[in-house]
């Protein structure tokens, strides 16, 4: 798979998340000052770029890595997050 195709597929897979962030921006931008808008835009761009890169990488491996990543990386990260949150609360 060529680099362009991988990036294209990565963008396609990231599209739901990117649309969600764009919708949030459209909804919130009127109630934020320039500094907050800039900060949001930068965060969204970084997240979008990272997401496209990761999804592109997974697509390059024909999705074979997707399931292991999902189960072995994201779920432990979620569990860790929940644990940290619970510890903070107590």
């Amino acid at each position: 798979m060529s680099l362009g195709a991988a990036i294209g597929l990565g963008a396609l897979y990231s599209l739901p998340a990117l649309l969600l962030l764009a919708a949030r921006y459209a909804l919130l931008c009127s109630g934020m000052d320039a500094r907050a808008r800039r900060r949001y835009a930068v965060s969204a761009l970084v997240f979008g770029a990272f997401s496209i890169a990761c999804c592109g990488l997974l697509a390059a491996f024909r999705g074979e890595l997707a399931l292991p990543v999902f189960w072995e990386l994201l779920l432990p990260a979620l569990a860790a997050g929940l644990l940290v949150r619970q510890i903070r609360r107590t």
Binding site: P16, L20, R24, R39, G63, L78
Partner: protein, 421 residues
């Protein structure tokens, strides 16, 4: 903004389910960014809200129907808030005239957000309690909500009605001059007659011309109106009013009469008799005027088994033999109670907001077929006759009744009643 996080989680779950169902890895890949974004929230904490709110009201004692400006200032005592939305809620009876009760924006540490708007108020006591603040972390969609107390109270007495002089009478008067029909000899400047000089009469009252004419020492006698003790009773029984408009008119009339009587130098007490008995003790002057206007603002009509009739009217609260002014549309069963009050030595006057006169009243539903029909006309005629009979019986007991069409001027109705005396 929990909705976004929920949407992201739901979409991620749906895509994962599709991936499991179709054994297609692409769905898992598409679910990953959404799941990752949702998971970001677990590693961040919601914005810490340390806000102080303060409310400023341009006039806390306005007349009903006037416009009041309200300014709410919210100061941020904590860290910067990327997006803050504020929402103020208006109590019942307060209507937004201009401006907005919502605000959204970013707030730096020690900076203030201002929320300004104008409202028009109905009669009553209106309490503003708190402001709702919602801080949103734009990227992670983490939100924190707080209720900021910023109390304020607006007391809106009824609108001021023009009211002409109402001369009441009473067998007991106060030792001061005032506006009434109770005249007493003594001070004052109104000439009342002459009589023979008696030791102790002031020399300045000697009538030298009469002495020269009749050869006796004659003194002039002067008289003046004396101040009275007046008790105003506002009938607040729900049964007596078929619509709120009539009660509002009665409250406005009671307040206007109290104003006028206080202006005339009289001592006035106020009693609201309905779901509860609200008593303002007798007093005179500006402080009493304010106290009565506050009582009029608080008056509300309602039902209570003990106060369905005037039998439990605590008329003994009023000074003995004073003048009692009742503002009431009157019910059929009120006759006996009013006669009892009269028998106790009180001078009673009734101001009767006429329920038949205004559109939408008991006898007439404006624009309705019933009002135009023969049955409607007959009902109106019967009610009119019943009112006239009650009025006649009250007048025979020397209880004066002033009928007031609430669609017309109160001053004019009083003027007509005074002329008919």
């Amino acid at each position: 903004m929990k909705a976004f996080r929920l949407a992201a989680v739901a979409a991620a779950i749906c895509l994962t389910a599709l991936g499991v169902a179709t054994a297609e890895a692409s769905f898992f890949v598409a679910a990953l960014p959404l799941a990752a974004w949702s998971a970001l929230g677990f590693f961040r904490s919601a914005p810490d809200l340390r806000l102080e709110a303060e409310r400023w009201v341009s006039d806390s004692f306005p007349d009903a129907g006037t416009t009041v400006e309200i300014l709410v200032s919210v100061r941020n005592r904590g860290a910067r808030i990327e997006r803050l939305s504020l929402r103020d809620s208006l109590p019942a009876g307060v209507h937004l005239s201009s401006g907005r009760t919502e605000w959204a924006g970013s707030l730096d540490p020690d900076a203030s957000a201002r929320l300004g708007y104008a409202v028009s108020v109905d009669r009553g006591v209106h309490r503003f309690e708190s402001l709702r603040a919602l801080a949103d972390e734009p990227f992670t969609a983490l939100a924190a909500e707080a209720t900021l107390p910023c109390p304020a109270k607006i007391v809106a007495p009824p609108e001021r009605l023009l009211c002409g002089p109402l001369a009441l009478e009473s067998s007991a008067v106060r030792p001061f001059a005032g506006e009434s029909r109770a005249r007493r000899q003594g001070g004052g400047s109104d000439f009342a007659g002459t009589r023979e000089y008696a030791p102790g009469d002031p020399l300045r009252s000697l009538n030298w011309r009469a002495e020269a004419l009749w050869g006796e020492s004659i003194v002039n006698i002067f008289e003046e109106d004396r101040a009275l003790d007046v008790g105003i009773i506002l009938d607040a029984r729900a049964e007596a009013y078929d619509r709120a408009e009539l009660f509002e008119a009665a409250v406005a009339a009671a307040a206007a009469l109290a104003d006028r009587l206080l202006e005339g130098g009289n001592r006035v007490a106020f009693l609201s008799y309905g779901a509860a008995v609200e008593w303002t003790p007798p007093g005179a002057g500006r402080a009493q005027r304010t106290a009565i206007r506050i009582a009029a603002a608080r008056a509300s009509f309602g039902d209570h088994a003990a106060f369905e009739r005037f039998d439990n009217l605590p008329v003994r609260l009023f000074p003995p033999r004073s003048s009692v002014l009742l503002v009431s549309p009157l019910l059929r069963g009120d006759l006996v109670a009013l006669l009892s009050i009269r028998a106790l030595g009180y001078s009673v006057t009734v101001l009767r907001p006429d329920p038949l006169s205004a559109p939408g009243g008991r006898g007439e539903s404006s624009g309705s077929d019933a009002a135009r029909s023969g049955a409607g006309r007959l009902a109106r005629r019967l009610m009119d006759l019943e009112a006239k009979t009650l009025e006649g019986r009250l007048r025979r007991a020397r209880i004066e009744v002033i009928d007031w069409d609430i669609g017309k001027s109160l001053a004019r109705s009083i003027e007509i009643a005074e002329a008919a005396r």
